[in-house]
């Protein structure tokens, strides 16, 4: 597996973005071209950015860090979004309300803890993160540290060892639930 290419942001531009005061999204048309209407209002801030499925990584965030009114960031299915990317999101601490991180395979708990800097966050989606051993526990812990946030994408039962599946060795199961909690 080749190492990820860092340095050059892989996105050629914002896939989708919505400016403040407008309700329409700026997106490439059927021919893949953007309209240049936004150039007429150069000082508007971007409010929502949809980067689903792109190869954006922590270097690519350089393009976005000046947008201090950013409210929504959608990153479902971005394979290069990792813990260092999440650590860089602190610049949106005063404005970010929604964050969608579903199916970003590189994210671990070590990066999710950096989201404590997003104090205004209202919605967080952590579904489909394969590196979380215990999504149920992470869900509880995240809701504890982000006071106004509703975290979706993880159920309480996820990560718990189910008692029905191991009927024969009851004590072995007892021991394994304890270790399951410790090795997180």
């Amino acid at each position: 597996m080749p190492p990820p290419q860092a340095g050059v942001p892989r996105t050629t531009g914002m896939q989708l973005q919505r400016f403040a005061g407008q309700s329409e999204w700026l997106r490439p048309d059927s021919r893949g071209r953007f309209s240049y209407d936004f150039m007429s209002t150069p000082d508007t801030q971007i409010e929502e950015v949809d980067l689903s499925g792109t190869l954006i990584n922590h270097n690519g965030l350089e393009n976005l860090v000046n947008q201090n009114k950013l409210q929504t960031l959608s990153l479902p299915g971005c394979p290069e979004v990792d813990d260092w990317f999440l650590a860089r999101l602190h610049v949106f601490g005063e404005s970010l309300l929604e964050l969608d991180l579903s199916h970003c395979s590189r994210i671990t708990v070590g990066g999710l803890t950096a989201l404590q800097n997003l104090r205004k966050l209202k919605r967080l989606d952590i579904s489909g993160l394969p590196q979380l051993q215990n999504p149920g526990l992470v869900w509880i812990l995240l809701e504890e540290i982000l006071p106004h946030c509703r975290v979706t994408g993880a159920e309480y039962e996820q990560g718990l060892i189910q008692p029905d599946s191991q009927e024969q060795t009851e004590d072995h199961h007892e021991a394994s639930t304890h270790t399951g909690l410790r090795h997180l």
Binding site: A6, A87, H90, V109, T113, A114, R182, L184
Partner: protein
């Protein structure tokens, strides 16, 4: 024509292995034969070259694990600093066998090595610009670690980095130092935020903010990681680039001595290292390794290595009477379990009383400890843990700051050595005037792990380029020890 000639000779006929290729044409058979011949000739040539003097091969059966007889750079110490220097030397050399680097480590189990016993934290919240730059570079190195240290066909490196940041607490009398440091940190590029006590209380409701005047939280590039992963990643990459690894102890040096006269008329003995004696484990056998440059990255044992060259053993008033001020200092780390403790937002908390604490995993476990007073330094002959220290010194301070810790249980503890710089607690990098080919990279006093990638590059630049190219560490040069000019971190603790 050639084929008929060679197949008539039985010896050459044997060379042609029975080939079951699809094209059994004569063209294919000829190619096989010449390729085989070429490989055999090449093997013969390599064997002949190995038999010549100047190569590593010797017909006598030697002890396994001996280092090569000759190396360009010998790095004493196989901790994270030593391997980082080896990696960067090979990276800068570019040519596959351009530079022969040997890393000598005395303990293959790393049982007492400071690297693996470390808490693994990294922060940019220092007061000296050089320290901040070193940590920042190291964080960027770890950010793109697989670009640097990935080896083909091996698993990608996973440092298990927790991005929780460091939180420093300052009392009334040290708040101004914290503000000063905050300005320096932001100027240099670290991402830090200052918090007032009320903001602190809102952010971390589990904390008791009594006595806190100001707090400083790292927002990015700060946290903790697994030191063993970093060490192994550096070692794996360096070995893949051709660095030799030897498990043995450096017991002495053989030097060529020259006399030099200082401006004061004092005559000094300048020693140029010619051979490093590496003794095999559990044996009296040693190998003298001929070398051009030696790097002292022996951590807590650097002082011992330096004294083998007579540094510090001369008359008190002369340059040779000043020893290398690095000695081992034992520090305890306690693992405690508290089910009601702070959650995922726990940073690496450092209180102004000196106690520190960080989360470990998600199961309510925490790692805590404290630096003892200067006068109460524990005994360094072993790594036994003093549990009384926790009960008497650490616990009440910890419970004062985080009330939930009044109920806790100590699950385990360990101890490790700092390579403590008794002079000014900052790294010592550079040459000693009395030993013109020994580079020092030691004395980091607890910060070696977090500064190791950057220090490795700095020393590699010193050796190969003659000066610093990336980060200017002239302030950490060894001569400040001889000139008695300390550079201190102005910390609140």
């Amino acid at each position: 024509m050639w084929r008929k000639l060679f197949t008539s000779v039985p010896a050459f006929r044997a060379l042609k292995a029975p080939c079951r290729s699809f094209s059994s044409s004569s063209r294919g058979a000829e190619k096989d034969f010449f390729k085989d011949l070429d490989t055999h000739l090449r093997a013969f040539r390599d064997k002949a070259a190995a038999a010549m003097p100047g190569s590593d091969w010797s017909p006598i059966e030697l002890t396994p694990g001996l280092p090569p007889e000759r190396a360009d750079v010998v790095i004493v110490g196989g901790g994270v600093v030593g391997w980082s220097i080896a990696y960067w030397l090979k990276m800068k050399a570019r040519v596959r066998d351009g530079l022969r680097v040997l890393v000598v480590e005395k303990d293959p189990t790393y049982s007492q090595a400071s690297t693996v016993l470390s808490c693994g934290g990294i922060r940019q919240q220092f007061s000296l610009k050089e320290n901040i730059l070193l940590s920042l570079f190291s964080a960027h190195f770890m950010k793109n670690i697989n670009n640097h240290l990935w080896v083909v066909n091996e698993d990608p490196v996973d440092l298990q980095f927790n991005h929780s940041g460091y939180l420093f607490l300052a009392s009334e009398k040290s708040a101004h130092i914290m503000e000063e440091n905050y300005r320096t940190q932001r100027y240099v590029g670290a991402k830090v935020a200052l918090l007032s006590p009320s903001q602190l209380k809102e952010r971390f409701p589990w904390m008791n903010t009594e006595g806190v005047a100001l707090a400083s939280l790292g927002l990015e590039n700060e946290g903790w990681f697994d030191p063993w992963s970093l060490l192994n990643a550096l070692r794996r990459k360096a070995v893949s680039m051709g660095v030799y690894q030897c498990f043995g102890e450096v017991t002495g040096f053989k030097c060529a001595a020259n006399l030099a006269e200082t401006t004061d008329g004092e005559v000094l003995n300048v020693q140029r290292i010619k051979y490093v004696h590496v003794r095999m484990p559990n044996s009296l056998e040693y190998q003298p390794v001929e070398c051009a440059v030696v790097v002292n990255a022996a951590g807590a044992n650097s002082g011992k290595i330096a004294s083998m060259l007579g540094i510090g053993l001369g008359p008190k008033e002369s340059v040779s009477g000043v020893p290398l001020p690095v000695e081992p200092r034992k520090r305890f780390v306690y693992v405690v379990h508290c089910p009601d403790g702070p959650g995922l937002d726990t940073p690496f908390l450092i209180d102004y009383s000196g106690v520190y604490c960080r989360r470990e995993g998600l199961g309510g476990n925490y790692i805590t400890g404290m630096s003892p007073e200067e006068t109460e330094e524990p005994d360094i002959s072993n790594l036994d843990v003093d549990h009384e220290f926790f009960q008497e010194k650490v616990w009440h301070r910890l419970a004062h700051r985080i009330p939930a810790f009044e109920q806790l249980k100590v699950s385990s503890a360990w101890a490790g050595f700092y390579d403590y710089n008794t002079f000014d607690q900052n790294g010592i990098i550079g040459l000693h005037p009395l030993v013109p080919n020994m580079y020092f990279a030691t004395g980091f006093s607890g910060h070696g792990l977090q500064q190791s990638p950057a220090v490795g590059l700095a020393v590699a630049e010193l050796i190969l380029d003659g000066g610093y190219k990336t980060i200017d560490l002239s302030a950490f040069d060894l001569k400040r020890i001889l000139l008695q000019e300390p550079i201190q971190e102005s910390n609140i603790v």
